[in-house]
Symmetry: C3
Subunit: 139 residues, 3 copies
């Protein structure tokens, strides 16, 4: 049985961003030598998300607009959390909509994905260093 841990550092230039981390996760799966098992990928921060969807920039723009509609940033004062001095309450809600983590099957040494599945890091309170955990388990 193999269990391996790695961390990917992220630092987005914009407050919100959608970044394809599939190549990095694929590389970590290959390096691990795990042929059959699970790969867990999650941000270690509560205003970011790891999710699986389409690698299409139009869709990412749609996600961004839609999240802002369902969990708007302004007015700051609408959120109790922002009374603590923060202004990122909406980022906590946006990450909740997108989900925290993904667990992906590893089959024959590769991420067992359908034709369009790709792993994204969704940032909702960026411009600072954050980590993504990649944990592989199997044999």
């Amino acid at each position: 049985m193999k269990v391996l841990t790695a961390y990917i550092w992220m630092n987005t230039k914009t407050e919100r961003a959608y970044i394809n981390i599939t190549p990095k996760v694929e590389e970590l799966v290959r390096k691990s030598g795990v042929k059959e098992g699970f790969c867990l990928v999650n941000p270690m921060h509560i205003t970011a998300s790891v999710f699986i969807n389409d690698n299409e920039s139009g869709l990412h723009a749609d996600f961004d607009k839609w999240l802002e509609k369902l969990a708007p940033h302004l007015p700051i004062s609408q959120y109790n959390h922002n009374r603590t001095g923060e202004d990122n309450a909406d980022a906590h809600l946006k990450r909740t909509l997108m989900g925290r983590e993904v667990t992906v099957a590893i089959t024959k040494g590769e991420l067992d994905f359908g034709p369009w599945e790709q792993i994204f890091y969704g940032e909702f309170d960026g411009r600072r260093r954050k980590r993504v955990l990649v944990k592989r388990i199997g044999e």
Copy 2:
């Protein structure tokens, strides 16, 4: 340690559908011989969901109406993604709300479920063949 992979093929007659796949997953868990472990179930497509909830058709109708309210199909032109020639941007959002995957504990050779937990395949862009992955790990 055992790690087993299976795929369930889906092909819904309607654009959107909620299908109970619990019996199929239960059968795969029994066949696997895994007595203690995890079972990951996820669609291999990005306009579908696997989720756990109640096996009650009224609730499924509520889900359907609610998803259409939060992520409406029309007008098609409201979504950037649909400029690629697709008309399914809303299906990507609906699947995001319902979640991609579930991980279920296997205890004493069975899915370790509460009294009402059932696994559903949620389809939001149907009428074509799609796959669900069932990965079992444990001993």
Copy 3:
């Protein structure tokens, strides 16, 4: 390989509640002796959630208000599910927004968490006994 199962009983005094279960899960991880692996935590009920976010009561109030906006309790009659004699259709939707489960990496015998990650039980149809499953796998 070790695979261990435990159940935490919950019984909230209010209909909706957000309860920090991190200390209980941490204790179960330490007791398990698993040094490297995964920990799955999920409610065994379909009107409750286990999620990871900030241990800040203002944010929990924001979650509560936001969920009520996106999936309102009243009027009861707006939901087909409530025709079965239930009045908790909204609780099924709220749990869907918050997510069912979390899978957390165990590294060096501890939950591998970022600085603010905490595990919460989200109750949306409370005042009765419910169970949370904690399954640990690894070595």
